[in-house]
C-alpha cells in the first residue's frame, strides 16, 4: 500500500478510484453481489432487490437535497409516476420493457421539473411544503384517474421481459436492479464531478454567490429536480416490477420521509451516503423485526410492549445519528479510513 497519496495535477485529484486497493476492494464487492443469489435464500434476494431500488431512489434524493440543498418530501410520489408510467406502457400500450423503463424515468423527470418550477422562488422549508403538495397532487391523481391507473383498486403490473429474462422472477429482477444501481451510482458520481455538480454545490452553499459567478440558478435547480426525479422514476419502475401490483398506498408521504431519513443517516452530500444510509436502514429494520417477532412468539402476553420497543429503538437511532453523526455514516467511514491509513503510527 502506498504510504500516502500525493496529487500532482487535478486529473489524479478527481480520479474516482484513487488506489489499486480501492479498485480491488470494489471488484471483490461487486463479485460478491453478482454471486450473491447462488447462496442466498429467496427472502434475502428480495430484500436485496428492495435495497437496490432504495439506493437508486436515494441517489436521486441525495443529489437534490444533499448536493443542491433543496429539501424534497415528495420523492415517493415521483417513484409512483415512474411505476405507473412503466406499468401502463407495458400493460396497455404493449411497449417493450427496455423502452418503457427510460420513458418512465423521463416522465418522472418531466413531472419533477414541473413541480421544481417553484424552486426558483422557494427555498428551504417553503420548498419542502411545495414538494409535499407534489406528493398529494400525484397521489390524488393516481387515486382518481381510474381509467388509466385503476384508481383505488390498484394496477396489475405485467412483468417486463428482456430477451430470455422475465422480471417476475426474483433472480432476474435482482440482476437488473444490481446493474441499474451500479449504473446509477456511476452516473451520479460523474454528474457531481462535472461542471453541473459544482454548480449544484455552489447553489447549495450560497446561491447568491453562485449567481454572481455565473451559475444559472433556475436551470441548475430544475436540472437537479429533473435528474432526481429521473432516478426516482427508474426506481419506481423497478418497484412496480417487484411489487407486481401497485396502488397509491405504495407511494405515500411516509415513504418519502423514509427516503429522506435514509439520506440523512447515510450522509447528505456524499455519494456513498445513499448506499450506507439504505444499508443501515434495512439492516436495522430487519434486525428489529427479527428481534421483535422472536420476542412476540416467545412472550405472547406482552406483544404490545415489543412492538413499541421497535418503534422506540428506531426513533432513538435516528436521534442518535442526528446528534453524534450529523454528517452521516459516510463521514464516519472517512474518519475510520483516515485512522487506519496511518495506523499504527497515528499521532
Amino acid at each position: 500500500m502506498p504510504a500516502g497519496l500525493f496529487h500532482e495535477n487535478y486529473r489524479t485529484d478527481e480520479r474516482i478510484f484513487q488506489t489499486w486497493f480501492v479498485k480491488a476492494w470494489l471488484t471483490a464487492f461487486l463479485m460478491a453481489c453478482v454471486l450473491f443469489p447462488l447462496f442466498a435464500s429467496k427472502y434475502m434476494i428480495s430484500t436485496m432487490i428492495e435495497v437496490g431500488i432504495a439506493i437508486i431512489a436515494c441517489h436521486g434524493l441525495n443529489l437534490l437535497t444533499g448536493f443542491t440543498g433543496q429539501i424534497s418530501l415528495g420523492h415517493a410520489a415521483f417513484l409512483g409516476v415512474g411505476a405507473y408510467t412503466c406499468s401502463i406502457l407495458i400493460g396497455q400500450a404493449g411497449v417493450p420493457f427496455i423502452i418503457a423503463l427510460p420513458i418512465a424515468g423521463a416522465m418522472a423527470a418531466l413531472i419533477g421539473m414541473i413541480f421544481g418550477i417553484p424552486s426558483l422562488r422557494l427555498r428551504g422549508l417553503y420548498l419542502a411544503m411545495a414538494t409535499i403538495a407534489a406528493q398529494f397532487i400525484i397521489e390524488f391523481t393516481i387515486r382518481r384517474w381510474d381509467k388509466l391507473t385503476g384508481g383505488v383498486e390498484g394496477l396489475y403490473v405485467d412483468p417486463g421481459t428482456l430477451g430470455p429474462f422475465h422480471f417476475d422472477h426474483h433472480i432476474h429482477l435482482y440482476y437488473l436492479t444490481l446493474i441499474l444501481a451500479v449504473v446509477a451510482t456511476m452516473v451520479i458520481k460523474n454528474i457531481v464531478r462535472a461542471r453541473s455538480g459544482r454548480a449544484f454545490v455552489a447553489i447549495r452553499d450560497r446561491y447568491l454567490a453562485a449567481e454572481v459567478i455565473g451559475v444559472n440558478l433556475f436551470k441548475y435547480r430544475l436540472m437537479s429536480f429533473a435528474v432526481a426525479s429521473f432516478f426516482a422514476g427508474i426506481a419506481g419502475a423497478l418497484m412496480a416490477q417487484y411489487l407486481e401490483v401497485i396502488t397509491h398506498e405504495s407511494f405515500t408521504i411516509h415513504q418519502s420521509i423514509d427516503y429522506l431519513a435514509m439520506c440523512i443517516i447515510g450522509g447528505l452530500g456524499h455519494i456513498l451516503g445513499g448506499i450506507y444510509g439504505v444499508g443501515f436502514w434495512f439492516i436495522l429494520e430487519r434486525v428489529l423485526e427479527v428481534v421483535t417477532t422472536n420476542l412476540n412468539s416467545n412472550f405472547p402476553d406482552h406483544i404490545t410492549w415489543f412492538v413499541s420497543i421497535r418503534e422506540i429503538v428506531f426513533g432513538f437511532v435516528i436521534v442518535f445519528f442526528l446528534i453524534f453523526e450529523p454528517d452521516g455514516l459516510a463521514a464516519r467511514w472517512r474518519t475510520i479510513r483516515a485512522y487506519w491509513k496511518l495506523w499504527p503510527f497515528s499521532y
Binding site: K42, V152, E244, I246, T247, E249, R286, V287, T293, S297
Partner: protein
Amino acid sequence: MKKLTIGFAIVAIAMALTLGPATNNAFAADEIKWGVLIDLSGPTSDWGKNQVKGQLDAMRWLNERGGINGKKLKLIVIDDGYKVPRGVAGYNRLVDSEKVLGLYVQSTGTTMTLIKKIVADGVATIAASFTSKFQNPKKTPFSFFVSPSYGTMGRVALKWIKDNWKDKSRNPKICYLYPDNKYGRDILNVCKDYAKKIGIDVGPDQVINWPTKDATVQLTNMKRYDPDFAYITSTAMNGAVILKNAKALGVRTKFISNIRNFEETLITLSGGAAEGTYGVHPIAPYGAPVPGMKKVVESHDKWHPGEKGTNVYVEGWVNILAVSEALKTADKAGDLTPSGIRNAFEKFKGFDTGGLAPALTFTSTDHRASMAAKIYEIKGGKMVDVSGGWVELPRDMEYFGK
C-alpha cells in the same frame, strides 16, 4: 477512539441478535407455523392489538387442548405498521424464510399488492379485508375470510331497513358515508344496485376522509337530503368523530355502522354520541349469550384480567378457530401443505364456531363464508341485538365477486 469501540460493540450486538434467532429456525416437526401480518404500531393499531390478542389467546387455548392433532400451532406475528412496503417485506419473510403454511393479512393495501404473489406462491391467506373481490376462487384461489363480505353486510343492512319500514307512503332514504379509498368505495355499486331493487332511495354520497377531524360539512350536506338512515364505512376512531358531529348538529338520521366502525371503542370514543345508533356485524359481541362464548370469556379473564374484551378480540378467536379446523382436516388427510390447507378450507360445510360467527361454508367455486349478519343497537353503552337472529341473504350469484 472510544466512540469507535462503542460503534463496534453495537454492531457486534446487532450481529449476535440477528444470528442468534436465525439458528433457531430449524423446523420442528411437531410445530405448525402460521403467519400474522398485522398493524400493531400504525393508524389501525388499536384494532390490530385486539385482533392479535384474540388470535394468540385462541392459539394458547388450542395448544392447551392438544393443538392440531397433537402438533403445536405457532403464530408468527409481524407488525407492518399499515405500510405496504413493510407488509410486502413481512410477507416475504413469512413465506420465504419462515415457511409458514398460511397467513393472516390485515391491511387492504398490502392484500391488494400481494394478491398476485399469493396466487404464485400458493399460500392460503385469511384476510381482514372483507372485500367480495377476494371471494371468487377463479381469481383468488387462496384467499379466505371468515365473515360475509362488506357488500353482503351492506345488503343485510338494507334488507333489515326495508323489512322494518312501517311508512308505506314513501321509500326509506339512505346516504353512504365513506373515505375515498379502496375500502370505502368497495360496497357502493353493489349496495346502490340492491337498494334500487328493493325500493330504498339513495341520497348523495358523502366522502369523509381519514384521519377524520371534522365531518360537519358533509353532515350538513347530508342533512339537506334528510335521509332516514346513513351507512358509515369507516373505522371506530374516525367514525366516532362523525357521530359526535352528527349529535352536535342535531341530525335526525339513524346511523348504521359497518363492521370496522362498529366496535367497543366507538362507544367510548364517541362519548355517548353512539347511543341509539346501529351497526351490522356478523361476529358476536364480547360476552354475548352464545354457546361458543364461554371459552373466549374464560381465556380473556385468565390471561388478561382487568382488560376489556371486545368484538375484535372475538373475531380473532373466530379466525384461529377456522384456521385450526382447516389445519386439522389437512393434517388428517396427511397433506399439511399450503395447497392441502386450501383444500381443507374448501371442505368447510356449515362449520359452527358456537354462534361466534354465522356457520362457515367454503366450496371450490365459492369462497363466501356466510351470507348472514345481525343488526345491533347501542343501548346503555352495550351492543344489543335488535334483529332477533341472523338476517340472511340467499346465496345467489348475482353479486358474487362484485
